[in-house]
Symmetry: C2
Subunit: 313 residues, 2 copies
């Protein structure tokens, strides 16, 4: 029954997301619908809705704008990321940036972010403080990543900071707010926040692994785009500076430096180490659930962990 | 006495703005301080603080984050605008985009916007609904402007929509929230909102005039950047399509199309018509103040109108 409620809730989230991009400015409408309609896993709103139910909440209707806002933050950052990464495809479709150009992609991302704010505004300060904190961290994480990419270097601590801020914070915020809206005890709110945070870490590590070993067709986007993230994985294993060596080598033999880096990473054993790290944080997410009373929703949250670890796209 | 309170309030706003960009991510700290420290007229927070006092408010300390957030929205859009306009100078200094590159300028603008959200989060839903609405409109206005620039055409209604959404909405929101925080009657809140809205329209029309006839050195930025806005001014006079003619002419004689457009606009009489429009909306702003009880703060709001109309930069 609860599972069905979540599926219905996610349908309501889709409607809310579509309604958010019904601007009377045609390009914002078109580009907004383009990115919303291209789908996505909707994992963040799913986790927020499940956390609400697992915390004993019954107000799934009140959760819809909140869960939609969580997804919309993520969507806004995708649009801006694709500008910075010069990406041409996303979710198997052309990117906003490639279709409408840089100026309108920038404005579309800004627009989506203002709609996040609009969706969240009716909630009380305690929710908006959590959401704002996650948004600040997200942009900081993206910036740390761009700085590492520019410097061509990455260390273990920086990698951890990046994935914690750019990904785990938003998963954490969704789970936390879902539990808060259920009026749960502080212990349950903390447990579900910890679940969201560690699930987010696992999700990002697996994402970085797929960027190295994944199938571009299955992923719906090119691989090797976040190769500095891959460097982070590799550094976590052996502490070496990778890109310097690669750059030297590629200068000699004139191969595509990204392909060369991917090859290096695949052969280095870094991917296997990263998988172990993903399992470790996944275990922490599962351990956090032990503080939450048993329920079908809690079972679902467990299943999400496995889904994240095993996913191929 | 009230005037002194406002000046002290504006000093507190500066501190709040600087504190907002104290990120532990160096580039966000540096680029954030760069744009904040480059100053600006701080007209929006001044209007918000004065509206609060004119509405009978005494809680200027509670107004500081709100007034700072209003200025920070404006600052965030400047950083993103400069990317889209390829501008090299702003307020007499190098732009974030020119100094740190496009990627970090995009992220800095995003960061400033998340800090707006963070500053506003502690205020109640009624304030955040007003602020979010202004932010949505602002991005829509920017997008309408970019679309008009791309199409190389502008009509009177579009010009009005652009300046209402991209500029007047934020002035209006600041004045409205200032009055709300004073606990003023609905009539006074409405009057001060109308003041802010019309002042914003006047401000933008004068801004567009200065882009045509202003001195780049006094302005601290190049002129002719918003020449499509100038087209809007011109259309408001004679309903002709301007850029088409200019493009044809310049193709023949090979002159700089922007300089040519500026010359056309200066000679067309459009600037004089625009000045009359600015006076008209300024009069509406002053008329709105008649609904507000007399006070030194109301006198200051009147003085701001003249400042906006007479400004040379």
């Amino acid at each position: 029954m609860e599972v069905e409620m979540v599926e219905n809730g996610l349908k309501a989230v889709e409607q809310e997301l579509r309604a958010a991009v019904n601007s009377d400015v045609n390009t914002l409408y078109d580009a907004g619908h383009h990115i919303i309609d291209s789908g996505g896993k909707r994992l963040r709103p799913r986790v927020a809705l499940l956390a609400h139910l697992a915390a004993g909440g019954q107000a799934l209707d009140q959760m819809i704008p909140l869960a939609s806002a969580i997804e919309l933050v993520h969507t806004a950052t995708l649009v801006h990321d694709d500008i910075n990464d010069h990406s041409l495809t996303r979710r198997g479709k052309i990117t906003v940036h490639a279709r409408w150009g840089r100026t309108f992609a920038l404005l579309t991302g800004d627009y989506l972010f203002t709609k996040v704010y609009e969706m969240m505004a009716p909630y009380g300060p305690q929710y908006n403080v959590v959401m704002a904190d996650a948004c600040v961290k997200l942009v900081e994480g993206e910036t740390l990543q761009a700085l590492a990419a520019k410097a061509g270097t990455m260390d273990r601590e920086t990698y951890k900071q990046i994935i914690a801020r750019k990904t785990a914070s938003l998963f954490e915020a969704g789970a936390r707010m879902g539990a808060m809206l259920a009026g749960a005890d502080e212990a349950v709110v903390t447990a579900l926040s910890s679940y969201g945070y560690n699930l987010g870490l696992a999700f990002q590590i697996v994402d970085d692994i797929l960027d190295i070993v994944g199938d571009p067709e299955t992923l719906g986007k090119p691989v090797g785009l976040d190769v500095t993230q891959g460097m982070g994985l590799m550094m976590a294993q052996n502490g070496r500076k990778v890109l310097g060596e690669t750059a030297t080598m590629t200068a000699e033999v004139e191969v595509d430096p990204i392909q060369e880096m991917l090859l290096q990473l695949r052969e280095s054993g870094a991917v296997e180490v990263a998988r172990l790290q993903a399992y470790e944080v996944a275990q922490r997410a599962l351990a956090a659930l032990a503080e939450v009373p048993p329920s079908p929703a809690r079972d679902e949250l467990e299943a999400v962990v496995n889904l994240v670890i095993e996913r191929q796209k």
